[in-house]
């Protein structure tokens, strides 16, 4: 049961007008990093992070005590959408044989690096499972993950376990046992 001071704190928080700029300054670097983990390009990550906050500004219902979880959810979704878009584009470019400059040694190395593999697998598994893994990887607790994705907290463990199995299966299928 909540103590009186906790209740007073919640009431005070509800009465406090939402300070958008303070929230932006406090959360922007973390949100940009969450996106940068998925989207390789840092400049694009920053653009997407700005879009997340623009969406927050346009969504008064998301402004309040649940903003933190909301921001993470939207950031992860935007990042995954971008990753999938990039993957799809790369596939079509390969399919239609669009002229591509030959990769320099650095790019060739990057294409084989571990990060690339993880991103490819995240782009291939179910979006919901990828979201779950990424939110958890950003150190959100089960309760925070549940609140972000609007899940029953009791089922987060099971869903996370399924997502991990799906991730491993896809990874092993593509790159074999390491």
């Amino acid at each position: 049961m909540s103590s009186r001071s906790e209740i007073a704190e919640v009431i005070a928080l509800a009465d406090t007008p939402f300070d958008f700029e303070a929230t932006f300054r406090a959360q922007y670097p973390r949100i940009a990093r969450v996106i940068a983990r998925v989207v390789r390009d840092p400049a694009r990550s920053e653009e997407l992070a700005v879009e997340v906050f623009l969406k927050l500004w346009r969504s008064p219902r998301a402004q309040g005590d649940k903003t933190h979880g909301w921001l993470y959810r939207v950031a992860v979704r935007k990042a995954l959408d971008e990753l999938r878009r990039q993957t799809r584009r790369a596939r079509y470019e390969g399919l239609f044989g669009f002229a591509k400059p030959s990769p320099n040694p650095e790019q060739a190395h990057a294409a084989n690096e571990d990060q690339h593999r993880v991103r490819v697998v995240l782009a291939c598994i179910e979006k919901r499972q990828a979201e779950l893994l990424l939110l958890r990887a950003n150190d959100l607790s089960y309760d925070e993950v549940a609140a972000s994705l609007q899940l029953n907290p009791a089922s987060v463990g099971t869903l996370l376990s399924r997502a991990q199995q799906a991730f491993r299966k896809e990874y092993v299928k593509r790159y074999g046992q390491e």
């Binding site: 700029e21 932006f24 300054r25 922007y28 670097p29 940009a32 990093r33 940068a36 983990r37 998925v38 840092p42 990550s45 920053e46 653009e47 992070a49 700005v50 906050f53 623009l54 500004w57 571990d114 990060q115 593999r117 993880v118 991103r119 893994l133 990424l134 990887a137 376990s161 991990q164 199995q165 991730f167 491993r168 990874y171």
Partner: protein, 236 residues
């Protein structure tokens, strides 16, 4: 692989995504955000799609004069928020179908029980189309609650039809919060709204004891006129 090992295995791979060298520039991002916040319109693909949709809607209205009349009537009535009597909206419906429109329907309430409009024959029915995201609807709902309390025993039945696309997920918490004392039904696919020519919300129909639509209001109801119409139909 057991659960703990799987957990570590996945965590180890996801940790490879860390970009310790990445330093987001908050000030530059804030300037960019403020620029975007200042722009009300931007000419992009979304704008083109919107413009094309608006052009097609205008073309439809020009091609189908009956629907144009209905829309014109609805918007005119919405602007002054007065009761629109059968001779207007309902007559348009009649003209469109060239017969008495089928007004009866069966939808489920919050408890999952089916409610049929025809079963309320013998009562004066106030049928209110609304949604949780509609601010005008929220303004008039307390008045409808009041009507239900005052005239329930005299034979008034208030029925709400929610047009929320995400179903009970949004509606049930609102019912609890607003303390609605009348049945609310869910028209998720919008089929009933279509039949009642709902182009926007709120829309309220008042149906007499014989099951015929007596009056309709587009926009927030005029409380006094609505109450007077209810009393007239109740025979007071």
């Amino acid at each position: 692989m057991d659960k703990n090992n799987l957990n570590d295995w996945v965590d180890e791979r996801l940790a490879r995504l860390d970009e310790p060298a990445f330093q987001p520039n908050t000030d530059r991002a804030l300037r960019r955000l403020n620029d975007r916040r200042g722009k009300r319109f931007s000419f992009g693909p979304a704008w083109l799609v919107g413009a094309a949709a608006a052009a097609m809607a205008c073309a439809c209205l020009l091609i189908f004069p009956t629907s144009r009349d209905v829309v014109q009537r609805l918007f005119t009535s919405a602007s002054d928020s007065k009761l629109v009597y059968v001779g207007q909206v309902y007559a348009d419906l009649k003209a469109m179908k060239d017969k008495q429109p089928e007004t009866n329907f069966t939808l489920k309430d919050a408890q999952g029980q089916p409610v049929t409009l025809a079963d309320l024959k013998g009562k004066v029915v106030l049928l209110n189309f609304w949604a949780t995201w509609c601010e005008g609807c929220k303004t008039e709902i307390p008045w409808l609650v009041e009507f239900e309390q005052k005239y329930r025993d005299k034979g008034l039945a208030v029925v709400g039809v929610s047009e929320d696309a995400d179903g009970w997920k949004s509606v049930k918490p609102y019912l609890k919060q607003a303390g609605l004392n009348y049945p609310v039904l869910l028209d998720t696919d919008g089929s009933i709204a279509k039949r009642y020519a709902i182009f926007g919300m709120p829309v309220t129909y008042i149906i007499d004891r014989d099951g015929k639509v007596s009056a309709a209001s587009v926009g927030i109801v005029n409380k006094k006129e609505c109450e007077a119409e209810i009393l007239r139909l109740l025979g007071n």
